[in-house]
Symmetry: C2
Subunit: 341 residues, 2 copies
DNA sequence: GTGAAAGCGCTAACAT
DNA sequence: ATGTTAGCGCTTTCAC
């Protein structure tokens, strides 16, 4: 046990009542200059630190936020956390870390533990799939201030910050179309994810605009991992008619796919143009370097945290949805335009 | 504001004193079965949640730990955090996240904020450099239970969990030596890091054992980034005598170096064998796949957290240093053995 | 087995 | 300008 010194010890040593010490540390104006000086000096000497716990008990504010995250190996969410943490710090908040990496069914239990700890709000920084809404509904009912990133709940009005994945998917696909490709394969993420649906929707939109017929056989599924991109590409390679370009819905799968291509003796970008999604650091340094769609991930975390604190300060704030734009990063896997298609 | 229902409300509704409710929720044995049943039922009905804050005020325990981390983009520390979080959860603890990514000088301020919040202990999950010890010393003096991962403080006795980097460096270098190489280049991390010193020491040891003279011109520095590995390799390529193998002290620099090699028209592993360090997920999927030294990072976080909680429960526990072993992962960048050297 | 009393460290009226 | 009185929600003696 440490920090034995309390507000009363300071008061005694300074020869004032402990309420006066409270006034001093809370920077109230109604304290004599001389007293204030003496109290601060005693605080220094004794190394007094106010107890945030005792404060919270009376103020009903902990200045602590819960951070629910599922996937620490995912670059997107790691970066969201970095941005969120920075913004929280700026505003005097801390995050309590809750990773549900192992088992999403733990979530209700985490919610309970977090609300018991009186967190002022919760940031839900994990992707939504189709079947997991039931967990979060209990939080909504408990009226805990809540903001999500990349997490959507059909039919519920909640504040969510995300990236415009429809537009991102469109950008990626149009980049390939502009290079002259018409047989464009796609490796998607797992079924049920909103980001997957959106990116796929963008793909479809781009094809439609270019008057290219949609061919379901050009599409394979992965689970975001390198390995799954590798395997999906091998399946795509066996199909006819052959594709000449690939849109992988994240960079890891794109890089896995490139490995399959290189093993199959296909040259990139000459035999196959490739575009990924995320702009992970490795994208610029794989060989050839990967063209991709960059997402402003830290900004997602930052804005989400800002909105969460807004919501805490005024629970009546209108729920809103913020969509950030993506950016096309051109690198070697999309070479110069081809003649014909 | 939520959770209006307190222990007194439960007591009133159950027709008992609030102390009895306290006994029930703390699972004390001295409550009549009938009372216990009734109280639990009321708790359910009212949706009562005990306030961890109020509890902490009297128990002097928050079951909360501080987590100081510097670099979220570093795979090593990300994985340490995953392991640490899992172990904390298992033992009923939460981590408060503190990233000092932007500015290490913020650390003293974080320490203050964390101790004000009465964290039970602090896990210092960031690498040590040579000049930053002053920050942590104040914590040691304050007798806050403290465990570090990969953070060493010369002359101070503290509990630290780390990887045996001397042995890892030796393993990496010996792998290259066994393939017949004698001109072995090295790209190290930034000067002043203990892990860099240790891996370099392992390199020297391996050369010495094999009777290969040490040549300082074979060594270049990087800052762990892809880009720095790329640039360091370009510098190495201009030197004479030429090296035939490379040990990069992390995978990102190794992959950056591979890019420089491929631009220079060198084939891997035929013209240059390459070995990295970390076994990041990309290592298996870059082309050619990267031989590397795997570190049990999650285990580092897990053990560190376990030791921290031990220290909290018994502050008199002997400080100890735990060193985990690395593992050589053979892949394509170290091809078959060469004839001669 | 259960209730009463005290107190954890602090803030916030209310006095003076 | 400063001290007094309550009370935040809980745990912990100590009676009964």
């Amino acid at each position: 046990m440490r920090s034995y010194v309390t507000i009363r010890d300071v008061a005694a040593a300074a020869g004032v009542s402990y309420q006066t010490v409270s006034r001093v540390i809370n920077r109230r104006p109604d304290v004599a200059e001389e007293t204030r000086r003496r109290v601060w000096q005693v605080i220094e000497e004794l190394g007094y630190q106010p107890s945030a716990i005792a404060r919270s008990l009376v103020s009903k504010r902990t200045h602590t936020l819960g951070l629910i995250t599922a996937d620490f190996s995912d670059y997107f969410f790691t970066q969201v956390i970095v941005g969120a943490e920075a913004e929280a710090r700026k505003q005097g908040y801390f995050f309590m870390l809750c990773s549900t990496e192992r088992n999403p069914d733990d979530e209700p239990e985490y919610f309970r533990l977090l609300t018991e700890r009186q967190v002022d709000g919760i940031l839900f920084a994990r992707p939504s799939t189709e079947e997991d809404s039931r967990h979060i509904l209990s939080l909504l009912r408990a009226e805990v201030p809540l903001v999500t990133t990349a997490y959507w709940l059909p039919g519920e009005k909640l504040t969510v910050v995300d990236v415009d994945n429809v537009d991102g998917g469109r950008q990626a696909t149009e980049c390939l179309i502009e290079l002259g490709h018409r047989q464009i394969g796609m490796i998607t993420g797992p079924a049920g994810w909103k980001s997957v649906n959106d990116r796929s929707e963008g793909y479809r939109l781009a094809l439609e605009r270019a008057g290219i017929p949609f061919d379901a056989s050009f599409i394979e599924y992965g689970d975001w991992s390198y390995q799954s991109g590798y395997e999906a590409m091998r399946r795509l390679l066996q199909k006819a008619p052959p594709i000449t370009a690939l849109f992988a819905q994240n960079d890891r799968m794109a890089i896995g796919a490139m490995r399959a291509l290189s093993e199959a003796g296909r040259r990139i970008p000459d035999d196959m143009a490739v575009i990924g999604y995320d702009d992970i650091p490795a994208a610029a340094y794989c060989h050839p370097s990967l063209t991709t769609i960059r997402q402003p991930m830290q900004q997602v975390g930052e804005i989400a945290t800002r909105l969460l604190i807004e919501l805490i300060n005024d629970p009546a704030t209108e729920r809103k949805e913020v969509l950030l734009k993506t950016e096309l990063i051109r690198r070697e896997t999309c070479g110069r335009a081809r003649q014909g298609g």
